[in-house]
């Protein structure tokens, strides 16, 4: 079996395993089946990336040749995102066991089945080369995600999930309208075929409207600044494991879809000219960086603080895209990967605190630095990465982003990136101050260090943050290959 024939199974294995999971009783077997499926999926994704970096892989479902049949078309860009998604799921799952046992005590078969559906949906979006198929997988992953968020023990999780459902459905509908317009104009749904046929008809208002609909729709799923309102509540009230998984994957996949349409389907020499996309994305990116960091500085709940910080980090990625250069796009892909690493580590540390203390409010973390040193040190080190201290993954992506800005002589962007990094120092410092420099009040219960089953995966991710801060071959190489694949071999408009 060649890697081309194996590649679709990174989507199919979680999909089929979710069916088995839905029927399994108890607490051990659903988790074990999920773990096996996720590891298989991640291994396949890991083998796909080097193969896809050399030559674009294509797999026709049901042997119906594309563009008529549905095709999985994988180049460096989607292989990179797929590896990130599957890898994050594989790293987060060993951590999940204890946390899920506590937060979702019943019907874990259904819970893990939803998780696997969400994972296979996200992977399907990245690998598929068919516009309508992307929409279908988007719905699969979104519906599963709404279910996962609603599993939160807080009753407000239901409202957060419903809100996300409304916003997410609007986003998916916009994407569908955009795809529908493209189909009206070209009569094809295959992305590669669309890219070939669009130049003939692209000076029409229908195609321009399609571009606008797709960007707004994906901007919603991506939580780009004015469309981010679903994200803080969804991340805050979802079970810790769901937050850990979503923070690393869901918004990244939405960004990938947006880039795939803007760069591959519409071609950047048209989409950045017909709409003032570069300016709009730059303003929204910078506004997201500021507003997200600003609101994060005043949040009393750490989970919510990190959610707003995610809005800010999405801003960095959008800013990288708005520069429309290979190095800018590489910076966006790099930050996409590195942000997943650091946010997953941070949310794992917070989830560990929730496991021990039962809350993530800042005042409940007071004095925990002494009783739970390993957990909060992990938080502090992952926090260094989000600030962008040298030798961490966060530094690498910010460095590339600054280089991309300097490359175009945009000095003010460098200043803005540094200022928002300083704001990150403030919100991370608030947690450190509460944990180490404030006394635990007598009324609060004493807690010990968290179990190793939670600490070891957290520390593995913290270690990865430092590893990818020093050895950047995989991340920078993959991100550059992804950016070049999207821009068509390093061509800049």
């Amino acid at each position: 079996m060649t890697i081309t024939e194996l590649m679709p199974f990174s989507v199919l294995v979680p999909l089929i395993a979710s069916l088995v999971c839905a029927l399994l009783p108890g607490r051990f077997w659903p988790w074990a089946v999920t773990l096996v499926a996720v590891i298989v999926s991640a291994v396949i994704a890991a083998f796909t990336l080097p193969a896809a970096a050399q030559v674009t892989l294509s797999y026709a479902f049901g042997n119906w040749p594309p563009p008529i049949g549905i095709e999985y078309r994988v180049d460096a860009a989607n292989a990179f995102v797929a590896l990130l998604v599957a890898g994050m799921a594989a790293v987060a799952l060993p951590w999940a066991k204890k946390s899920v046992d506590k937060e979702v005590p019943e019907r874990q078969g259904a819970f893990y089945a939803l998780f696997l559906l969400a994972l296979s949906g996200l992977l399907g979006i990245t690998l598929s080369g068919d516009a309508f198929n992307i929409f279908v997988f988007l719905e699969i992953s979104s519906l599963a995600t709404y279910g996962l968020i609603a599993h939160g023990s807080d009753r407000r999780a239901l409202l957060a999930s419903f809100r996300y459902l409304i916003m997410g459905t609007v986003g998916a509908t916009f994407l569908l309208i955009g795809i529908g317009f493209l189909y009206i104009m070209t009569g094809t749904l295959n992305l590669a075929d669309l890219a070939e046929r669009l130049p003939e008809v692209r000076d029409t208002s229908t195609v321009r409207a399609a571009l606008a609909f797709i960007i707004v729709g994906m901007g919603l799923k991506l939580a780009m600044l004015p469309l981010h309102l679903w994200l803080p509540n969804a991340y805050t009230y979802a079970p810790s494991f769901v937050t850990v998984f979503l923070a690393g994957t869901a918004t990244k996949v939405a960004l990938y879809v947006m880039l795939r349409f803007v760069f591959t389907v519409f071609a950047p020499d048209w989409s950045f000219v017909v709409l003032p996309l570069s300016t709009v994305l730059m303003i929204l990116g910078v506004a997201g960086m500021f507003a997200g960091s600003w609101v994060a500085m005043f949040q009393p709940n750490i989970k919510r603080m990190l959610a707003y910080s995610s809005v800010a980090q999405v801003g960095y990625m959008v800013l990288g895209v708005s520069l429309v250069s290979v190095i800018g796009l590489s910076a966006a892909f790099l930050h996409l990967f590195n942000h997943a690493l650091m946010k997953t580590a941070l949310f794992m540390a917070v989830g560990t605190v929730i496991y021990q203390v039962g809350s993530a409010r800042l005042k409940d973390v007071r004095g925990l630095g002494r009783t739970m040193p390993w957990t909060l040190t992990a938080f502090a080190l992952a926090g260094l990465s989000i600030i962008g201290v040298p030798l961490t993954a966060g530094f690498v992506s910010k460095w590339y982003l600054i280089q991309a800005a300097l490359d175009q002589g945009q000095w003010f962007l460098v200043v803005l990136i540094l200022v928002t990094s300083l704001m990150a120092v403030i919100y991370i410092w608030r947690v450190i101050e509460a944990a180490w420099f404030q006394e635990r009040s007598i009324k609060q219960p004493d807690v010990g260090e968290a179990p190793l089953a939670l600490l070891i995966p957290t520390w593995i991710l913290v270690a990865l943050n430092f590893y990818f801060g020093i050895d950047t071959r995989l991340t920078v190489g993959g991100a550059t290959a992804a950016a070049e694949a999207l821009l068509g071999g390093g061509m800049t408009p």
Binding site: L19, A22, L23, F61, G62
Partner: protein, 148 residues
């Protein structure tokens, strides 16, 4: 509504026809308009009519809730199994040609099996959704009686 004679007689007469029509749509799906999704909905509508007339408890005796869960999953597993069979026999996922010798026979066999899986899943999911909502109503009523 069990006491209403007209409803009972009409339902008794209609339910077999509805289910037969569902099966008709199911097994004509590969050539004429129809297929698993529509068939599943029609089939489940017959069951829902039964539940409306004779009550949820009687309807759940026909097909218990646990069986619905299992069938719901079994339908999709059947679909995936046909897909995997294509891979095992040397083709792509959901490739029907390797399944049988004749080209037409292979496509027909593949589509009918896959659509049957779809039909089973859609029918049981619709039944399950109805059951969950119907149960909610009776739970809500019970809670109200307790309050009074």
């Amino acid at each position: 509504m069990r006491e209403n004679g007209i409803l009972r007689v009409v339902a008794r007469f209609l339910i077999p026809l509805i289910m037969l029509f569902g099966l008709y749509i199911q097994f004509h799906g590969e050539y004429s308009p129809g297929g698993g999704f529509q068939a599943g909905i029609v089939f489940a509508a017959g069951w829902i009519l039964f539940a409306l007339i004779y009550g949820l408890d009687a309807a759940l005796k026909v097909i218990p809730e646990r069986a619905m869960y299992v069938l719901m999953v079994a339908g999709v597993i059947l679909y995936c199994a046909v897909g995997i069979a294509g891979v095992v026999l040397g083709g792509h996922f959901l490739d029907f040609y390797p399944l049988l010798a004749g080209k037409h026979a292979a496509q027909q066999f593949g589509i009918i099996t896959v659509e049957f899986g779809v039909g089973v899943t859609v029918a049981t999911v619709v039944m399950l959704v109805f059951t969950l909502f119907a149960r909610r109503k009776s739970e809500w009523k019970a809670a109200k009686v307790e309050d009074e």
